[in-house]
């Protein structure tokens, strides 16, 4: 058996390094059709057919080893063995075979390091489809490197690469004898000698870009796409949600009938079914939202949207480069904040980090849906548009508008008011792969359920204890929950939140909601379930709050969740990415103030109008 080997995948952004990494190691790291998805190193292992262990390091994409951003520094350090990084035994320089003009320049730069390396000519399927002919042997000869063809998105697409790694001892060092003066001129020479391209760009891409990048039609299409997503979230998920609700109602009835009265029955009924069950029902909506997000990510449309929005975003003091991190924040603010590593300007990066929590993450969806379902009537506008879908769309727009507003204020205060131009690579359009979408959705379902059985379960259990103990004192006349620890804390907090219409139950739910936003829903479910009596216990949470809260409280809580700093993990990542507690304080502080003002306005405006 041969010795273990460490290989590093390097290359320009969006050349398919992570797709290759996933194929090699069996990992399921995020892959999307735009630059800047990977912003830190990922590690995995596989065992080659000979039994040789291979450690694979997937590195962030970079256009040059002259690193400018934190993501590029990681790649540079690994390649050069800086800052205690162990140099890999073999560098696999991954290049997009449809875009050799750009990617070969980086190959020449890495070659100058004089480290053992090979070139993986990736996306060969797309190359063949576009009629591009590459003389691989001639290219290998001209580069003085082994060149291997790969297809990162197909099973078996890495076969040649694995066979090479398995069969060869560590390849001989490349000879950096003659370093070309002008790398671009050298690339042109290589292309002339080894590549035949029918045209420089894809005809389909050009045609689609004429539509999607049109200043007017493009913006209209972008707006329509977003609109359709939120309509679909409400309209498409309803039957499945109803089914899950019925299932939990049945479970609740079974628990009530079969379990003897006592603590365990209260835990199962109030915490597990009443609490966790109220979150599980939102799974179909989460999956529909991610079906659209994953499709858009794979299609290559998102960088076009970034390009379209560059102008409006620059008016608000942002750049188009902020678009992808902000868009990632719609799934979760954490990857969004981490994705700001691809923003090399410190000032722009900090602004983007500050406003990323305002983008509506998927964890807020259960809260929004619960409140919309409870307080917004189910109506259609113009015969086909769901009114609830419109309200959801408006809430997402409110988050975006809040972000723009905050960015404008930051721009107003800062001294440096120069604008930074956007240079962004537009990838080829791709049809989303059905299998990849299926795997992506299964992964999202797994993550959501893992959150429910992990963090949400844990937070809810502790809340149940706090709502159950200590029991009602002898001679007390009020409901037992009023004398519980949670009841006492909730009533104390109500003093602060009464001006925005929050009752003590909402105040209690806000605390565990800090661990994850959806916990607020399960917490409300538990609090109301514990305090319910008779018929109330059997009612769904939505019906309960619709009956007990005034409309103004519902609107106030909706406004609160658009802005509130309700996620500890997000604040922890801001601390890590900025290295500053001050930034954490500023973020939490301004979000709290914004949320309070928005809720105050929503509450009193609704009271005045109803």
């Amino acid at each position: 058996m041969t010795s273990a080997l460490t290989i590093a995948l390097v290359g320009n952004p969006n050349c398919g390094k992570t797709a290759l990494f996933n194929q090699l190691t069996g990992a399921r790291q995020k892959v999307a059709n735009y630059a800047g998805v990977t912003v830190e190193r990922k590690e995995g292992e596989f065992t080659a057919p000979s039994g040789r262990k291979v450690r694979v390091i997937d590195l962030p994409g970079t256009y040059s080893l002259l690193a400018m951003g934190p993501d590029e520094i990681v790649t540079r350090d690994v390649c050069l063995g800086l800052h205690n990084e162990v140099r890999p035994d073999l560098i696999v320089c991954v290049i997009d075979a449809t875009n050799l003009r750009l990617h070969l320049r980086f190959v020449l730069e890495v070659k100058q390091l004089g480290r053992p390396m090979i070139v993986a000519l990736n996306m060969m399927d797309a190359t063949v489809a576009r009629g591009i002919s590459i003389d691989r042997e001639k290219l290998a000869q001209a580069l003085g490197l082994t060149v291997i063809e790969t297809v990162g998105i197909k099973a078996g697409g890495t076969r040649a690469l694995i066979e090479f790694i398995d069969s060869a001892a560590t390849p001989a060092l490349p000879v950096p004898a003659s370093v070309p003066e002008d790398l671009h001129a050298e690339v042109r020479r290589l292309l002339d000698a080894t590549v035949v391209m029918p045209s420089r760009t894809s005809a389909i891409d050009d045609m689609l870009d004429r539509i999607f990048l049109s200043p007017l039609a493009g913006l209209l299409i972008l707006f329509t796409v977003m609109f359709v997503v939120f309509q679909a979230v409400f309209a498409g998920a309803a039957p499945l949600m109803e089914l899950i609700k019925t299932g939990f109602d049945w479970l609740s009835a079974v628990a009530e009938q079969t379990m003897p009265e006592g603590l365990l029955r209260s835990f199962v009924r109030d915490c597990l079914i009443g609490g966790l069950g109220s979150v599980v029902v939102f799974l179909p909506q989460i999956l529909i939202l991610f079906l659209f997000i994953l499709s858009l990510e794979e299609s290559g449309y998102l960088p076009r949207a970034a390009f379209l929005l560059d102008k409006p975003m620059s008016m608000a003091g942002l750049t188009g480069r902020s678009f992808i991190p902000l868009l990632s924040s719609f799934a979760c603010a954490i990857p969004g904040i981490m994705a700001t590593r691809s923003i090399h300007d410190h000032r722009d990066r900090m602004t983007t980090i500050l406003i990323a929590p305002l983008m509506t993450c998927s964890a807020r969806l259960p809260v929004y849906t619960l409140l919309i379902g409870a307080f917004i009537p189910e109506q259609t506008i113009a015969g086909f548009l769901s009114f609830r879908g419109l309200v959801l769309f408006a809430l997402y727009l409110a988050g975006i508008s809040g972000g723009v507003l905050v960015s404008m204020v930051i721009t107003w205060f800062r001294r440096d008011k120069t604008e930074h131009s956007l240079i962004m690579e537009l990838p080829s359009y791709r049809l989303p792969n059905i299998r990849n979408l299926g795997i992506g959705l299964l992964e999202r379902a797994r993550i959501f359920l893992r959150r429910i059985t992990g963090t949400i379960f844990a937070a809810n259990t502790i809340l149940w204890v706090l709502t159950t103990f200590p029991g009602k004192p002898v001679g007390a006349t009020g409901p037992a929950i009023d004398y519980s620890m949670a009841g006492i804390v909730g009533h104390a907090m109500q003093v602060l939140f009464a001006p925005i219409g929050f009752n003590w139950q909402i105040c209690v739910a806000l605390i565990p909601g800090l661990t994850a936003r959806e916990v607020a829903v399960s917490a409300l479910g538990t609090v109301y379930s514990v305090s319910a009596s008779g018929n109330e216990a059997a009612q769904q949470l939505g019906n309960l709050i619709a009956g007990q809260w005034p409309l103004a409280t519902g609107m106030s809580l909706l406004a609160w969740y658009v802005f509130a700093p309700q996620c500890m993990s997000t604040l922890a990542v801001i601390r890590r990415e900025t290295g500053s507690w001050k930034m954490v304080g500023i973020t939490a502080g301004y979000l709290f103030v914004l949320a309070y003002i928005a809720s105050f306005v929503a509450y009193h405006l609704t009271l005045a109008l109803t």
């Binding site: 790291q29 995020k30 990922k42 000979s50 954490i334 990857p335 959150r451 661990t515 993990s569």
Partner: protein, 93 residues
């Protein structure tokens, strides 16, 4: 009486598990240090073999080399061991 005992035991276990999970999420470094401390304590040579085995089992796994370590499990970007069985060689069909 025995059912009361049973339900109290179940609730106590679930609450203890939940408290540990929450602490791990909110204070990952502190809980890891605590876990290491208790693991070392249980592995003292004076203690019986089965206790030392518990200590070894309690030893916290090394944190992944990258990722945000927030443990939020939302974004699927963590570099946790989502790999397939690494001991099984890749076979070409």
């Amino acid at each position: 009486m025995s059912y009361d005992l049973f339900q109290n035991a179940v609730i106590a276990l679930v609450v203890a598990y939940s408290a540990v999970q929450l602490l791990r999420k909110l204070m990952p470094q502190t809980t890891s240090k605590l876990q290491k401390f208790f693991a070392a304590l249980l592995q003292l040579r004076q203690l019986p073999g089965f206790v030392q085995r518990w200590g070894r089992a309690l030893q916290p796994a090394a944190l992944p080399p990258s990722a945000c370590d927030s443990g939020c499990s939302t974004c699927n970007m963590c570099a946790t061991g989502t790999v397939t069985d690494q001991a099984v060689p890749i076979r070409f069909i």
